[in-house]
């Protein structure tokens, strides 16, 4: 015998439907943060933690800390992806003062989702007080300093830089700058030390000619030296073009994750939303770990050896602006490859 429905049944159904329609519950879980915490158990405690710092923005997108190129750096650039644009702020901090965040006036309007290749080029200290940034995205026309208004290198109008990166193959204290250009029909590259590049002022044509990679514009670009090998990773994708030398035709590797760096020993570094991988130039995987929001930033050469710099940014809600915690790890290169 069917039980008669109570008159309140309709009200309960209506209440449930209303709650379902208005519900925005998500569990307190972020796979990137969880994977990062898992990776931290292998890395150990961070070498540097700066925070909390009141941020000057409201964005739920990932935030990345680019420390200056010195060991134990507590200053650097914080980059985050806004809606349709990437944004920068300068984080100042030392042992005697509270950390603070200074918004940088330079903001580059980049295609949404292009933060990863954008940040692959780290800031530069080299004993100076003006870290330099290369914005490695399609449409790059100049190389600017962190003071935001100084044009360090003018690429002219004939050639457009479509990707950039840096590698730690120069002498300690300096880095090698890698920029790839196209004028629509031809491709070329500039691979030189930062000190030399900064003194160029402007270029009318790239000194190295390359065959077209056949991949979308706006990716990351690294070179081991001016004679190669050169690698170009498509933006937000896993395909990588490899030129063994300036005269070589590129071969395409499918690594499954965006290319974010090239180590001084020639290994390639890729990183997706959860996984960090290291490959040899023949696309053989030598390392793969769930790293989450702990990001590969750069390689750093010091008097005590080569270090891989990994960083993490955590944002937490407050009643006003979010708080930022910036953390970094400096892992000896040999140890990094054994993780």
């Amino acid at each position: 015998m069917k039980k008669p429905r109570h008159p309140g049944f309709r009200h309960i159904l209506a209440l449930t439907a209303s709650l379902a329609l208005s519900s925005c519950y998500l569990p307190t879980f972020d796979s990137s943060i969880s994977a990062g915490l898992l990776f931290e158990k292998e890395l150990g405690s961070p070498d540097v933690t700066v925070g909390p710092v009141a941020a000057s923005w409201w964005s739920d997108e990932e935030t990345v800390f680019l420390p200056e190129r010195v060991q134990g750096a507590r200053t650097g650039v914080v980059a985050w992806q806004g809606s349709g644009s990437s944004n920068l702020a300068y984080l100042t901090s030392d042992a005697n003062a509270l950390p603070s965040m200074v918004s940088m006036s330079y903001t580059a309007t980049l295609p949404s989702g292009s933060l990863r290749p954008f940040i692959a080029m780290a800031s530069y200290a080299a004993g100076t007080s003006t870290p330099l940034l290369a914005l490695q995205s399609y449409g790059l026309t100049e190389w600017t300093s962190s003071s935001a208004t100084t044009s360090v290198l003018d690429f002219g109008t004939s050639w457009t830089a479509t990707g950039a990166g840096s590698t730690q193959v120069a002498a300690a204290g300096d880095i090698e700058v890698d920029i790839i250009f196209t004028n629509g029909s031809q491709w070329g590259a500039l691979v030189d030390t930062l000190a030399n590049v900064a003194s160029l002022g402007s270029i009318t044509a790239p000194p190295i000619s390359l065959a077209s990679p056949g991949l979308p514009l706006g990716g990351s670009f690294f070179a081991l030296s001016a004679s190669g090998p050169f690698v170009y990773g498509e933006p937000n994708g896993g395909r990588v073009a490899v030129w063994d030398g300036p005269a070589s035709s590129p071969r395409i590797l499918d690594l499954g994750q965006p290319l974010v760096g090239m180590l001084s020993d020639g290994h390639l570094v890729t990183q997706g939303s959860l996984e960090l991988s290291v490959w040899d130039i023949q696309a053989k995987r030598v390392l793969s770990v769930p790293a989450g929001n702990i990001r590969f930033i750069q390689e750093l050469s010091t008097a005590s050896g080569e270090f891989v710099v990994l960083t993490r940014c955590l944002q937490t809600a407050t009643k006003s602006a979010p708080n930022i915690w910036a953390q970094s790890w400096e892992i000896p290169l040999a140890d990094f490859l054994k993780l």
């Binding site: 039980k3 049944f9 519900s23 307190t28 969880s34 937490t316 809600a317």
Partner: protein
């Protein structure tokens, strides 16, 4: 229309029965009547110009009430020719017998013709009659109805088929049907005897088992009701009213159930995007997180399992399993385990289906507070997030979130 004191009682019972029939059709059918004395309904009609039938009726009623087996008498005022209707009226009034009497003038005398109808079984005795000279008051009060009374006694002496219900259920089962609640003895059998066929609505509660119930028609003869154990229920719900979850409940006591389930966050409905994504080219109405959460807990209620509305309190221990790589499942290092403390209610919408809603707090006694806060996003996920430091040396810290709503249905298996 008063016949006797006893008749007034019967009239009142009949009126109540009639009211009950209007309010709850079928209720009178479930009434079991003791059989030590019986009530009679009298359908008295007069034909053929009998000048003054009142003394006949009054003397007949007095004669019937003088019978030791007769408890009461009710007059039937409807059309005497409609026996079915009269029989239904008798059954509704609790009268086991209907006496249909026709009286008419026959020359200088009087002719009586009658039969008895068993209102419960629908059987009718053969018609009988007598014809006598018109009696005086003394005869009416003494011997005029003798043949009819002898026939009544003979009718009552006829064997009636037994109306039995045999209930088979696990010993200790609390059976609630006709009459008071009964507990099944160690034999697991219970025999109930009824005077009349009926449609019986019943429920049964068994310690440690899900309550069951139903209805059945108890006919003349023996009717068997077997009650199988039912202690499990399947719960289907949605955490946050978004993420489907599945649960098995086992009632281990009338007021306590164990439950085990799996909340999954691989797929969830984001119906709020119907509003927030208005104007977006491709609004997403689903959300996915690589997180599974198996849980084990208890649900306790002071109410009986058969209650329509049951508030309850619940406590669950749950794990957070993160799918952080294609080959391994990890305990979420941010908050590997949690405790859900909830309050809710369930509502019986059908015999074995209950709607439930629950709200509560998630407490994570072993959490990484900073990473937990960061995982909530800069808007806090729209709910209160609590975080605290280590509870003892070496302890990372604790965190909590509230409130969390969930709802669904539970189906008895």
């Amino acid at each position: 229309m008063v016949v006797t004191k006893q008749a007034r009682r019967i009239f009142r019972a009949a009126a109540l029965a009639a009211l009950a029939m209007v309010a709850h059709p079928g209720m009178a059918e479930t009434k079991a009547v003791p059989a030590d004395k019986l009530d009679i309904m009298l359908s008295f009609s007069v034909e053929g110009g009998l000048p003054d039938p009142a003394p006949y009726r009054e003397s007949l009623e007095a004669a019937l009430l003088s019978e030791s087996a007769v408890g009461g008498l009710i007059r039937y005022e409807g059309p005497a020719s409609d026996i079915d209707r009269a029989s239904k009226a008798a059954r509704a009034s609790g009268c086991r017998l209907l006496l249909v009497l026709r009286l008419r003038a026959s020359g200088a005398g009087v002719k009586a013709e009658w039969s008895f109808v068993d209102s419960a079984l629908g059987t009718r005795t053969e018609s009988r009659e007598f014809e006598k000279e018109a009696p005086g008051r003394a005869v009416l009060a003494s011997s005029f109805w003798t043949e009819l009374l002898v026939d009544l006694e003979a009718t009552l002496a006829l064997p009636r088929p037994a109306i039995l219900l045999e209930v088979k259920a696990p010993p200790g089962t609390l059976f609630d049907g006709a009459g008071p609640r009964r507990v099944l003895p160690a034999s697991g059998k219970l025999e109930l005897v009824f005077d009349v066929p009926l449609i019986l609505a019943w429920t049964a509660s068994m310690p440690g088992q899900y309550p069951v119930g139903g209805s059945l028609e108890v006919k003349a003869g023996r009717t068997l009701l077997g009650i199988a154990p039912r202690m499990l229920s399947l719960g289907l719900g949605a955490v946050g009213l978004s993420f489907p979850e599945i649960e098995i409940d086992a009632d281990i006591w009338r007021h306590l159930a164990l439950r085990a389930g799996l909340s999954q966050y691989l797929f969830g409905l984001a119906l709020h995007n119907l509003d927030s994504n208005a104007g977006s080219a491709a609004p997403s109405f689903s959300v996915s997180l690589p997180l599974l959460s198996p849980y084990l807990g208890v649900r306790a209620s002071p109410f009986e399992p058969s209650a329509d509305f049951r508030p309850y309190a619940a406590a669950d221990l749950f794990a957070r399993l993160a799918l952080l790589s294609a080959t391994r499942v990890y305990f979420d290092p941010v908050a590997p385990v949690g405790l859900n403390l909830g309050l809710g209610f369930d509502w019986g919408i059908q015999r074995h289906v209950r709607l439930w809603m629950e709200t509560g707090a998630y407490l994570y006694p072993w959490a990484e507070p900073l990473a937990f806060l960061a995982s909530a996003g800069i808007n806090g996920g729209g709910r209160a997030i609590i975080e605290g430091g280590p509870l003892f040396p070496g302890h990372p810290g604790w965190a909590g979130e509230l409130p969390v709503f969930s709802a669904g249905i539970r189906i008895g298996l």
